[in-house]
C-alpha cells in the first residue's frame, strides 16, 4: 500500500529552487549585459555570486535533516500552553 510521505514536497521544492536560480542568472545577465564597465559592476556581480552561494548552502543546510520518507499523518499537536491558556 502506497502511503503519501514528505517526498511529495521534494520536487515542488526543487522546482522552486530552480526558478530562484533562473531569476538569479537573469540578474547576473543584466549586470553583465547592461551595466557600465567599472570596478563597481564587477564587484556587484561577484557579490551576487557569493551571496547566492551562501543562500543556497544555507537553504540546503536548513533542509538536510528532513526525513523525506516521513508519512503524511497530520496529528496536530496541542496548541495550548500554560502561557497562552487563560484557564
Amino acid at each position: 500500500m502506497n502511503t503519501l510521505n514528505l517526498s511529495l514536497l521534494f520536487w515542488p521544492y526543487l522546482l522552486l529552487i530552480a526558478i530562484c536560480c533562473l531569476f538569479f542568472f537573469f540578474n547576473i545577465f543584466h549586470i553583465y549585459r547592461y551595466a557600465i564597465s567599472s570596478p563597481g559592476s564587477y564587484l556587484v556581480a561577484f557579490a551576487y555570486f557569493f551571496s547566492f552561494a551562501i543562500m543556497l548552502i544555507g537553504t540546503i543546510l536548513l533542509t538536510i535533516n528532513i526525513d523525506w520518507q516521513t508519512p503524511l499523518n497530520l496529528n496536530l499537536p496541542s496548541l495550548t500552553s500554560s502561557k497562552i491558556s487563560p484557564f
Binding site: F26, H30, S37, G58, T63, I66, T70
Partner: protein
Amino acid sequence: MMRIDTLPNQGANETVVLFLRRHWMDLVRIAFFTFFLLLIPLAIYAFLWYFQIPLLDHPILGPIITLSSAIYLLVVYLITITEITDYWLDVWLVTTERVINIEQHGLFNRLISEVGLDLIQDITSETKGLLETFLTYGDVYVQSAGEKVRFRFKNVDNPDEVKLQISALVTACQTKHVHSHPEVGLPKLADQNKSHL
C-alpha cells in the same frame, strides 16, 4: 558591459562630463525593506519559541515550516538583488554634446533615450523632503524642445549642482553652434527689429 569611453554614436570630441547614479539612500531603503521582510519569519519563530508551541518539533509541520522558510528567504533575497540591479542599471550620462537617460524598470524593461544639448530648453532641479534636504539629493528634470517627454534624473546627488553644470554645457553647446554657423545667428530678433523701423 557598456564602456563609458566608447558610447554608441560617439562624436569626435565628445567626452562624458557627468556620470550619475541614484543616491545611496535608495540602497538604504532597499536594505530596510529587506530587513523588515526578514523580521517576519524571525518573529514567527520567536512567537513559537516564547509560547512553547511545538510546531517545529512536529514530524510533518516542522519540515513544512522549514521548507517554507527556506523558500521565503530565497524569494526575499531575489527581490533584494532585483532591486539592487534596478538601482545599479539606472544611469544618466551628460556629455559635451548630449544627455543620455538609461533607466531599468525591473527585469526585462529598459529604457534608453538621449537628447542633444542644443535641443534642451528647460532644466529644473527639485529637492523635496526631510532626508532629501539634509542629504542634498533630489530630482533633475531636463525638458527638450518639441513633444518629447522630459527626462527625469531620479534621486541624484546635489541636483542643484547638476542643474548648473548642465546649464553651462547647454550654453557652451549653443554658443558653439552659433559660432560655427554665423549665418544662423538670431534671425527672429533681427527681423522683429526691422519691422518696427
